[in-house]
Symmetry: C2
Subunit: 433 residues, 2 copies
């Protein structure tokens, strides 16, 4: 499975890439960027603190064969949507070519130099045009914590361990890291009030999730067998499923979350490819004996053996008070991602088992993920707001206040391999208008 | 509000339009079509049993001024998405020009002749590229009927009369009338069984809804005031929200319907414009005294006075047995649409009140609508399958069987105006694979 693009010893001629916490030569994530001089979004690849303009490299003849044709065709159409529709072999071929171009000893350093833009001067976009966005609920620790707030004795509903629970989210309001997040207004009716009222959400929260980018996908009426599901995953990102808990509590029965979730969803703008993550695959944790075995359509021994992702996740909170006093962000959670009850492949297969068509650029969220040291939302950390956090600045938090900035971080490490990261996924809450 | 395009006495030189049950000169709905000779989708307008190739008419210089520019620009981009992003004034201007072109006495009959394709020879597509699809639950009769199956004493949840209930649907699987509908497979667990199982849905149903096409829409973080909401409705269609009741019953808690609804949604392919429907606007039925008054953000007296639609709806079922015996389709319901608790404008405003951005081509479903003579789904008609229908063929139906074809029909009539119709919305159930 692994080729030369994983050799930890290989270094890039882009000096900042060597030892870069996110984007060493072994990562090469895919993104859509523009510069101050040229606001037209282009396909780019991150390397250290630079972004390679892939379209310029292709135009200069530095990409060859079928890959060059695919890049050229895609650049004229919908960018990564069209390229990633080509599937894993094409994606891996691009990776190998770009690895060799950017490695130390590359014969093309001089010609590449003007195509390597300082990332700090670029704007990053949502990397694919999202057709549909689906959010799952695969984090069993989160589902148990949230269920326990309502049903202490019986937190998980009877379907949870049989069927991957998911719902359709809003694609239009998915934004790239850095986009401000305006506090939504809406109807809410706390238990302490007899009538609902309309106004800014009082219980604004984040949710730590992973996103799964789809390509190529399936035709309507067909389904993707579990053994083929991994071929339809184009890559991964971080995903903050901002949630207005008070709006959600009032509106969500009987059809699920709606305005409580559709005012904004932040993704990290780099597509971390399955090729880059290959060394970090791990076995899906064994289910407790008492749990039902997944149904046949969701069961694949290879997927169970190495279909999960070994990732360290972290959530940081920077408040106005911390910022003012020059204090470090408050760490809300950290550690190995844990408790995803279904693998990404199982989510893909379940989504299509009734014939629903997935398309290149569709985005799936895993559901909120807890880590070894902490939960993935304030709802869980403060027990529904009843146990506020106290920060080093003296501020307290039940939920997010205006001016708060939330950072999600994901890194993969393994002895003998270069560590890689997902890059920035952050958003600042701005006041309701 | 009404201009010469509503004069019932005006006739078209396209003979089939005069007295046509759906598409007289006074309708002029917007669609996307292709012919056997040219498979590239084009913007078209229905007139009788013909389709005017609007792009050809524009190229021939028959459309003038700003409208011509807008048609030309749109034809190069995403068709009706881009045209309808221009808003109501542009749409109304196009209507007036096309009305005059197609009216009796038009000076352009000869040059138009080759641009008027026989509709029977054309293929119709979903008329806009759908960004996001949202389904509401505004049919209070349906919500009460369905609620009563689970909670006989208390069918409506406490939020129902305060907040327009809705959820995000799946855009990728929205298809145009005539597309076959494959029976989905999925997990289901009837009350009579102890364990869930996987297989073809046994309780496949239709739902009679209206669809609302959006254009222009709002920016993320902003909202559309109720007084401006109508300006963002580009038109209407029929919508069949096919539903697998057994899959729904097992999967839907706590996050709402997912695979039970995302295997296919059928729309009628013509966008019926607000201009065509203007004579048929009616007052929103007064709420019972005991009901809460809508909150301020949802309340507009003009919207209450003429923001609802006066439509006759009908659902027909043609089964293999009826077809074989040459019998007429079975009428499942008929009559004036009734019981939409919220107007289309209220749905639009509610959707955006938290800052969620609507975009041109977004589609909203109203929720299932009952009529004076019948309910909008088999779930209601057969009381959850407990009281099967008997058809003239001797067949019985709890839910839909393979080979069944469902037709939705909508017509608007009013003394002194030409009646108009929405055109075909049909789909045939094909077996699971």
């Amino acid at each position: 499975m692994l080729d030369h693009t994983h050799l930890a010893a290989r270094r890039s001629f882009v000096a900042s890439a060597n030892g870069h916490p996110d984007f060493p030569l072994q990562n090469l994530p895919l993104g859509s960027f523009c510069t101050a001089e040229d606001e037209m979004p282009r396909m780019g690849i991150a390397i250290g603190d630079r972004i390679l303009d892939l379209e310029a490299a292709q135009e200069a003849g530095l990409i060859s064969g079928e890959v060059a044709e695919a890049v050229e065709d895609a650049s004229l159409l919908e960018g990564w949507n069209d390229f990633l529709a080509q599937g894993p072999a094409m994606r891996a071929a691009l990776r190998r070519q770009v690895f060799d171009l950017l490695a130390e000893g590359s014969a093309h350093q001089a010609v590449l130099a003007p195509m390597l833009h300082a990332a700090a001067d670029c704007t990053l976009h949502v990397p694919m045009r999202i057709g549909d966005y689906t959010d799952f609920y695969a984090g069993i620790v989160h589902a148990t914590n949230v269920g326990a707030l309502f049903r202490p004795d019986n937190p998980l509903l009877p379907n949870y361990k049989h069927v991957p629970i998911g719902y359709h989210g809003r694609a239009s309001s998915v934004v790239a890291s850095g986009h401000p997040l305006r506090r939504p207004k809406g109807q809410r009716k706390p238990a302490s009030e007899t009538e609902p009222s309309f106004g800014p959400s009082r219980n604004l929260d984040y949710e730590l999730e992973l996103g799964i980018w789809i390509g190529p996908g399936n035709a309507l009426g067909e389904s993707i067998p579990i053994s083929e599901a991994a071929q339809h995953i184009a890559g991964y990102c971080l995903l903050n499923d901002w949630s207005a808990r008070d709006i959600q509590g009032w509106e969500y029965q009987p059809l699920g979350p709606f305005l409580a979730k559709n005012f904004g969803t932040t993704v990290s703008p780099w597509i971390i490819t399955p090729e880059a993550l290959a060394p970090f695959r791990i076995a899906q944790p064994k289910r407790p004996e008492a749990d039902p075995k997944p149904m046949d359509y969701l069961w694949d021994s290879a997927d169970q053996a190495h279909g999960a992702l070994g990732l360290e996740l972290e959530v940081l909170l920077l408040t106005p008070g911390l910022r003012e006093k020059g204090l470090a962000p408050h760490r809300l959670s950290r550690g190995q991602a844990s408790g995803l009850y279904w693998t990404p492949a199982q989510l893909v297969t379940h989504h299509t088992c009734g014939g629903c068509n997935l398309q290149p650029g569709d985005l799936l969220g895993t559901g909120t993920i807890s880590t070894a040291e902490g939960f993935g939302s304030l709802l869980e950390i403060t027990r529904g707001g009843r146990e506020p956090l106290t920060l080093a600045s003296g501020e307290t938090r039940r939920f997010l206040e205006d001016g708060d900035e939330v950072f999600l971080v994901a890194r993969a490490r393994k002895e003998g391999f270069a560590a890689i990261g997902f890059g920035e996924c952050r958003g600042t809450v701005t006041p309701a208008v």
